[in-house]
Amino acid sequence: MLKTFPVGGVHPPENKFSKGKKIETLPLPKTVTIPTGQHIGAPTKVVVSRGDEVKVGQLIAQAGGFVSANIHSSVSGKVKKIDEVFDSSGYRRTSIIIDVDGDEWMETIDRSDELKKDITLSKEEIVKKVSEMGIVGLGGATFPAHVKLSIPDGKKAEHLVINAVECEPYLTADHQLMMEKGEEIMVGIQVLMKATNVSKTIIGIENNKPDAIEHLTKIASNYSNIEVVALKVQYPQGGEKQLIKAVLNREVPSGGLPLDVGCVVQNVGTAFAVYEAVQKNKPLFERVVSVTGKSVKQPSNYMVRVGTSTDVLIEAAGGLPEDAGKVVSGGPMMGKALSRTDVPITKGSSGVLIFKEEESKREAINPCIRCAKCVTVCPMGLEPFLLMTVTEKQNYEKVEEERAMDCIECGSCSYTCPATRPLLDYIRLGKSEVAKIIRQRNQK
């Protein structure tokens, strides 16, 4: 019996159209728009000004605190302007617009393909390097990676859990990365293990990627401290709490962190980025993005420089299909619909998904029929129908009491609801109101 998490979960059709497609490097765009906020945490401070010449990998915005991440130029050229530009959030945000000229990299970056296995840096130096290179969690949450690696005094991590689940339907970016960069990922894991001082790593991969499981198991046999675990396909197994429960059978307490049960979770993409940052001195300025959808002509995986317009990716994959109804940044479950397609790809963009007109429309909202399907599928054991109702009634004390803050926003409830109620939309609203109340309470 394959391992999985025991509570809730759904299994939507996988539709991995871009599976097995080699990672292609896109030609350099003419301009890039690099938003200055691409992570969770404090905003960054821009350190270049209009007209400056920048090189690939040059620092252009500095972290504004501990929980924040540096941003580096993804191209070489001239800073055209620093302006408020629409990003994937649908709002205008401060961005640095760079006109591309050539492809001149910083001299410090090691551009060779050679695998560098020896880890020369010490534990503290690794964390510092990861922070300098602006590495964030590439699973989608974009939480600064060095924060997770800085283990507070008195806590001890026993296991490093590598999230190679890629439970979102459609997306194949991580899968393809594992197939092509397996060796590098393993070295990245060694670096992470040294930084967090753990002795054992578990890589969790869902069983719908047998080739990746086989490939990584083969490479992992060279390392005594890495184990690859095949998991039953179940969404949202990529949630860190669900993943820990699945691979180690440990439960993260409500409001707690993985570290409370002795775990550090990192995405497989992050492990690769850490390898490049620590061993090759390369900042995070490009990532793998899947462009996919039922009517997309050439579903593919691209290595994309941060700041490239989404339009460019869609064009590369054969253009916007005529029956396109919605363009989503990320996967179908947790991704965000874009209100325009000229927004830049950021560190957190794992995919560009194009829905057909007929599958993109949300159906009319019907009254709750009390079937409790949402309760059955909620991986956090919450009662989504109740949370929605009390949020509608603006009874935010009750929303907090019903543990809305535990919601991981996986969207299983909305996906499964036979009355097509917008459960997650209301739970998010409730969460943001409760967060306000908690902030006010803490201020007092």
Binding site: Y91, A316, P422
Partner: protein, 337 residues
């Protein structure tokens, strides 16, 4: 038989009498003194329990009125000056009359003025929409048109205009309780003085973007050009965040700013139609910016003509452009291959 009735009456009567005596002494012992004026004040309040005064209900407001020495700091927006003078006479105080206020909508981005660029199909709730994205137009500051303000209004003083997609405040019904101000996630409502004969002048825009993107997103946006600021002789206008703000207390309702506004972002409400003399002035004022504005206007009108076609479906507008690019791209990618 008679005995039974007699004994019953005597027993129950006895219990009643004893209880009455006990209750009398208990009531004396645990008496809570409540100012009788609270009831009297509550009597003259409108009993709307809307919370517009800042207290949870009319009773709490009445308590606050009785406790305070200075009624000037308290105001019931629903009852208005009449109600407050009644309260003052109950309490034997005097109160100065306040200017009556009304809620105004600071957005004029109707479907004709703002091109819709996408479609929102989730729950019809403004706060959810605002948390999700900037809005269904390129203006991220304007009205989302989902009517949370109308739901919040407890006096039926608002409705959604189907044609414009914007809420409308019914001036006579509005009590300036501030429920809509609280409800709007984009902060598009403001309580302003009703003004003499309900005449008001205000900037009906909250767009803080720079002029070019603001104008591109909405025909009637305030572009922060400062023309009204220069025109105003009474220092009633301040410029901040790429937009003008008119102080209703300093404004003398001369309408000079309305005439010079190149986008029509400044609204005049309840003014009579301009008579012959001012009409000339208006003509001049409009004529001045006109030559510069003309080509822009043409473009805008063309855009408007194109807009209704692009409106219904979200992706249609970009599609048309992308198709053209698509062909070019195909060629270039073929060349690369």
């Amino acid at each position: 038989m008679n005995d039974v009735i007699l004994y019953t009456i005597i027993t129950l009567g006895g219990i009643g009498a004893v209880s009455a005596v006990i209750l009398y002494f208990v009531a004396q012992k645990f008496k809570v003194f409540e100012d009788p004026r609270i009831d009297e004040v509550e009597e003259v309040l409108p009993s709307a329990n809307c919370g517009g005064c800042g207290y949870p209900g009319c009773r709490n407001f009445a308590e606050a009125c009785v406790k305070t020495d200075d009624l000037g700091s308290l105001f019931c927006p629903v009852g208005g000056n009449d109600c407050m003078s009644d309260v003052a006479s109950v309490l034997g105080q005097t109160v100065e009359a306040k200017e009556p206020q009304v809620a105004v909508l600071l957005c004029n981005g109707s479907s004709a003025n703002r091109k819709r660029t996408s479609e929102f199909d989730s729950a019809a709730n403004c706060t959810i929409a605002a948390n999700t994205y900037g809005g269904d137009t390129d203006c991220t500051h304007g009205c989302l048109g989902l009517g949370e303000c109308v739901d919040a209004c407890g006096f039926d003083a608002m409705y959604m205009d189907e044609e414009t997609g914007l809420p409308v405040v019914i001036e006579d019904a509005c009590t300036a309780c501030g429920a809509c101000v609280e409800a709007c996630p984009k902060d598009l409502f403001q309580l302003r003085n009703k003004g003499k004969k309900s005449k008001r002048i205000y900037v009906s825009c909250m767009n803080t973007d720079k002029g070019a993107p603001a104008k591109k997103a909405c025909d009637v946006a305030c572009i922060g050009c400062s023309k009204c600021f220069k025109e105003c002789k009474f220092d009633a206008i301040t410029m901040a965040n790429n937009k003008a703000y008119i102080d209703y207390e300093a404004c003398k309702l001369c309408r000079a700013c309305v005439a010079v506004c190149p986008t029509g972002a400044i609204h005049e409400i309840n003014f009579p139609l301009r008579k012959a003399k001012p009409a000339k002035k208006e003509g001049e004022a409009v004529a001045k910016p006109a030559p510069k504005a003309e080509p822009k206007v043409d473009l805008v009108e063309k855009a408007k003509e194109a807009a209704p076609k692009a409106e219904p479906k979200k992706e249609e507008a970009p599609k048309a452009e992308e198709k053209k690019e698509d062909n070019n791209k195909d060629k270039s990618s073929n060349e690369e291959k």
